[in-house]
């Protein structure tokens, strides 16, 4: 098929609805007779609720119920699934396992009354000693398999003799690096609207995966999955925290059942810190050594991160060390410790972002020790095949990314020594780092339907996280069906639709895109078959291979054609539909599949104040086919801005005595905003990848963040001569 739509920078279809307020986010869906639930959360990190006094709250006007473990409905099933699901606290017992844990919900006829009632709940708890410091549990660190890229991976991997390799190098770096606890903080908080009709449940949820919410609720409430419908039409950012149905989702459904009214429940900003995940802190050690010519003789990457007492999440920071650089000796090791915290979870580029800070900082340190250009060091150990298993890459244009990035950025102007270049009284520094993220692909289904008016309706139960799913999948379908973009409507976000995987892991474009492609292709082929057996069709009797789809018509090489409108009219006037299904085959056994990129950053550091301003960033990425130049660019742009936040700002600071996060709002939990950001230039080099998935897509959501913080930290070193190994790089660390 000719591609006329794929790749085009179409404006996001939901953009206008979002900026005008017309888009209804989950909490805003109008549900008749809905009442409002507001959570009461624990002030301590560990203990037992001895007494919970809800009488004052219950006396208030408009309050329907205050539900705690004392009076909550007992769930017939354990609301827990296999895979990336999280263990929840749904008011089933008196245990407090972490600070800010939901312990009750006040339900009232207005939001304000529910807030007021929640504030009147008095809790008397027996406090137990808690531990929220990774250092205190290091002696109990243990390995655990890692759920990443849709499969379980080993915590430890090693080949060659790393100890010998480290000694063999002409230069060696062995350092410890740290990244802090971070919290996702999408603009839209978590929110759930639950409505029962008998034993059927409808839920509007701020979710990255309606099918998991559906299965979890069905399991918890002991009802068949087909009785649960979950809808998510718009999401105001998620970044991983909405990939799991957390406690409040189950509590909303429970409360709705108990008060026999639909319940709307949203978390306050404050409540986003603890009960709904976050990126765990990492303590990493990296050892790298290289010969004089920059060829790596060994890489060792070790990491420890915390999880909760009751569930497991591993921040897979050392995974990329297995695949990124050529070295005869590579070792990677993951350990976790248990703390009295809410379970951490996937946060944009989980593992790759925190891990790349350590690994790419160490590479920069090694280059400095070798007196080598950091880019030359990376080229000297360029992996032509995956060092983990010798598999060829399905596509890899990293060298071109390095070259194009260096050229665009002006890498040759990099100061050779720290503190050697100033601009308006500030030190200028330049740094670079490599970006790598796996090209994930998961089973997905879609449906494509040709309507009697000659327009198409395509759907899959995936989610548009703000990434552009509504737009790009319509582009794919339009090309396959030979329709203009405007004639294809793509709908999503409903568990009644064909099943899609979690919208995470940068795999939605690849997975759902491929399913949409297969479904649309199947529909087109069916329409062609319908035409050639239809004696009234101008295409009657032709071979399918002679026919292509173009401008709303089926056109034969001879020039004869039949329109979809006519075709369907003659076939009885009913819509014609086909389903499509894709799943990874054995191509991942044969190839190593990753998106790659190169970051270049320029910083200005004030010598007396220690402030860092990222004045310029250039990122060049190669990640297969680009479906929409505008939305892809936005993904990279977002990733790079996130890198600035990660490098300079983001930090969920724990009060270790109280066991809770102190920075619980956006005035204390800092993320980069427009005014913090200088010039950012994301570019992509298109690749043809015939192996990765039918859509040829390797994913864009996370790659832009991988390595970004390291590039900035490396630029800070280049500016100041100070190596900051603990994020975020706040001014005090530079004085």
């Amino acid at each position: 098929m000719t591609t006329r739509n794929v790749g085009q920078p179409f404006v996001r279809r939901d953009g206008r609805a979002k900026v005008t307020g017309e888009a209804r986010y989950s909490y805003e869906v109008a549900v008749p007779d809905a009442v409002y639930g507001v959570l009461v959360t624990s002030g301590i990190a560990k203990g037992r609720i001895v007494e919970i006094d809800t009488s004052a709250a219950e006396r208030e006007a408009g309050v329907l119920a205050v539900i705690s473990h004392k009076n909550a409905l007992r769930l017939p099933g354990e609301p827990h699934l296999e895979g990336p699901d999280r263990v929840v606290q749904a008011l089933q017992d008196d245990r407090i396992r972490y600070s800010n844990q939901p312990i009750a919900v006040a339900v009232a006829d207005t939001f304000e009354r529910a807030v007021h009632a929640a504030m009147l709940v008095r809790v008397n708890a027996e406090v137990a000693a808690h531990t929220v410091r990774v250092e205190d549990e290091l002696h109990n660190a243990f390995p655990h398999k890692i759920m990443a890229g849709g499969k379980l991976q080993e915590p430890d991997e090693s080949h060659g003799d790393v100890a010998a390799g480290l000694v063999a190098g002409a230069a060696r770096v062995e350092e410890a690096y740290e990244t802090p606890f971070e919290t996702h903080n999408p603009l839209e908080p978590h929110a759930t609207v639950a409505s029962w009709s008998g034993d059927r449940l409808t839920v509007y949820d701020a979710s990255q995966w309606v099918f998991a919410v559906k299965k979890k609720l069905a399991k918890g409430f002991g009802i068949p999955p087909e009785n649960v419908r979950v809808v998510t039409k718009f999401v105001g950012g998620a970044f991983g925290c909405k990939g799991s149905a957390w406690s409040h989702v189950v509590i909303a459904a429970l409360a709705a059942k108990q008060v026999a009214r639909p319940v709307k429940l949203a978390l306050s900003r404050h409540q986003m810190f603890g009960p709904v995940g976050g990126r765990p802190r990492t303590r990493q050690k990296v050892a790298v050594a290289a010969q004089r010519d920059g060829k790596l003789t060994a890489i060792r990457h070790e990491t420890v991160s915390p999880t909760s007492r009751f569930d497991v999440f591993v921040e897979a920071s050392a995974l990329q060390a297995r695949h990124l650089y050529a070295s005869p000796n590579i070792e990677s090791r993951h350990r976790i410790v248990r703390l009295d915290i809410g379970t951490p979870t996937f946060m944009r580029a989980p593992g790759e972002s925190s891990g790349s800070f350590a690994l790419e900082s160490a590479m920069d340190e090694l280059a400095h020790r070798l007196e080598m250009d950091p880019l030359a060091l990376r080229l000297a150990s360029y992996a032509e095949k995956d060092p983990a298993d010798g598999k060829p890459f399905s596509s890899k244009s990293l060298r071109a990314c390095y070259q194009e990035g260096a050229r665009r950025f002006g890498w040759e102007k990099r100061p050779r020594t720290p503190r050697s270049q100033t601009r308006s009284g500030q030190f200028v520094g330049m740094g670079m780092a490599t970006a790598m993220y796996p090209a994930n692909f998961a089973p997905a289904q879609a449906l494509a339907r040709m309507l009697p008016d000659g327009s198409a309706q395509v759907e899959s139960g995936t989610i548009d996280l703000g990434t552009g799913a509504y737009t790009v999948f319509a582009q794919i379908a339009a090309d396959e069906l030979g329709l203009p973009f405007e004639k294809v409507r793509f709908d999503l976000g409903d568990s009644d639709m064909p099943e899609a995987p979690i919208a995470a892991g940068s795999m939605t474009a690849a997975s759902v895109g491929s399913a949409v492609l297969v479904a649309s292709r199947a529909l087109r082929d069916r329409l062609i078959r319908t035409a050639i057996v239809d004696s009234a069709s101008p295409l009657h009797g032709l071979a399918p291979i002679e026919i292509r789809a173009e401008d709303g018509r089926l056109v034969a090489t001879s020039g004869k054609s039949d329109s979809y409108v006519e075709l369907i009219r003659r076939a009885g006037g009913k819509p014609i539909e086909e389903r499509g299904k894709t799943a990874p085959g054995d191509e991942r056994e044969k190839f190593s599949m990753h998106g790659f990129g190169a970051h270049f950053a320029e910083v200005l550091v004030d010598p007396d104040l220690g402030t860092v301003h990222v004045s310029r960033m250039v990122g060049v990425f190669a990640t297969g086919r680009i479906l929409n130049a505008r939305t892809a660019r936005s993904q990279f742009l977002g990733g790079m801005v996130w890198g600035i936040g990660m490098a300079l700002h983001e930090h969920s600071v724990f009060d270790e005595k109280l066991g809770r996060i102190m920075t619980r709002d956006l005035s204390d939990y800092h993320v980069a905003v427009n005014a913090d950001v200088g010039s950012i230039e994301p570019l992509f080099l298109e690749e043809e990848d015939a192996h990765v998935d039918p859509a040829g897509v390797k994913g864009a959501g996370e790659l832009g963040l991988c390595g970004a913080a390291a590039a900035i930290a490396n630029a800070v070193f280049n500016a100041t001569g100070k190596r900051i190994r603990e994020l975020p790089i706040t001014p005090d660390k530079l004085l």
Binding site: H116, S268, L609, L648, V673, D732
Partner: protein
């Protein structure tokens, strides 16, 4: 969160507003731009039984030069100050100050009078007004009185305003030949309260000696700080590098910062020194002293 309940009053005249304040002396707060008060109430860090909204009272938003003074109406929005031609041309220190207060959306509502009357040592205008030697006009039931700014800040969130008084005007001496001022702020990120900030104002005589100096410091103690010793030190000196550095050192000694998420005591004090040095240098440049 939502605030605890309160009664809302929207008087049409200043007299009416003052009378309302007199009626609820313990329990009323003046609502101007609301950018400090409403978050405070919403987060339940404070509560008030009565909010007296002065937003409907005419004649409180103006910026004009009159009688050798710049007169700023108490309810003048920060964004108006920032965009005012006369301010941009003749009072660049006020533009320095206004443009680093929170973010543009807040500045569209926040008022200059509110920024002072709130008595928050983290607010930005107090230091600048201290440096400039401003006066504030307060209207109460017994009429109008003028309060010199260095007698205005009494403690944390405490000012010289009586419970029934409303801040109606700020008066700043018009610039004279050889004068210049600047405000320099260090923030963790754009829009934050100051980690430390310094306002400096100098008048340099025709002989090249400092005739007047004003230094104000933000968020470096329980109240906005007027660095009197440093000001005195500069008088009669040539505004050269060494003198400015010494003044900055003396100013930093006047600070009483507390340790918090923005940094340790020593760090803040050191930043006060660096920032005062920079503010003085810029002020001297603007005064035409180099």
């Amino acid at each position: 969160m939502i605030p605890s309940s309160f009664d809302y009053h929207a008087p049409a005249t200043l007299a009416e507003a003052v009378a309302l304040l007199g009626k609820y002396p313990e329990d009323a707060k003046v609502l101007s731009g609301g950018q400090s008060l409403l978050p405070l109430l919403k987060l339940r860090l404070g509560q008030a039984g009565h909010l007296i909204d002065i937003g409907k009272i005419p004649g409180l938003e103006y910026i004009k030069e009159e009688g050798g003074m710049l007169r700023i109406g108490g309810r003048t929005r920060e964004s108006a100050l920032e965009r005012s031609e006369i301010v941009q041309k003749r009072y660049p220190i006020l533009v320095d100050t206004a443009k680093v207060i929170a973010d543009p959306i807040v500045r569209n509502l926040a008022t200059v009078g509110g920024n002072l009357a709130h008595g928050d040592p983290g607010n930005d205008h107090p230091a600048t007004m201290l440096a400039l030697g401003a006066q504030v006009v307060a209207m109460g039931k017994s009429g109008e009185r003028v309060i010199p700014i260095d007698k205005f800040f009494l403690g944390l969130f405490r000012t010289a305003l009586q419970p029934d008084e409303i801040l109606t005007e700020i008066r700043i001496p018009a610039p004279v030949e050889g004068s210049g001022g600047a405000y320099v702020k260090l923030e963790r990120k754009v829009g934050d309260y100051a980690t430390a900030a310094s306002a400096a104002y100098v008048v340099i005589g025709t002989q090249g000696f400092v005739e007047r100096a004003g230094i104000g410091l933000t968020n470096l103690g329980p109240t906005p700080i007027k660095a009197t010793a440093a000001e005195k030190y500069l008088i009669g000196k040539k505004p050269e590098t060494a003198a400015l550095a010494e003044a900055a050192r003396i100013a930093a000694q006047a600070t009483e910062p507390s340790a918090d998420r923005r940094g340790a005591v020593e760090y803040k004090r050191e930043m006060a020194r660096v920032l005062t040095g920079r503010a003085l240098k810029k002020a001297v440049e603007r005064a035409g002293g180099k």
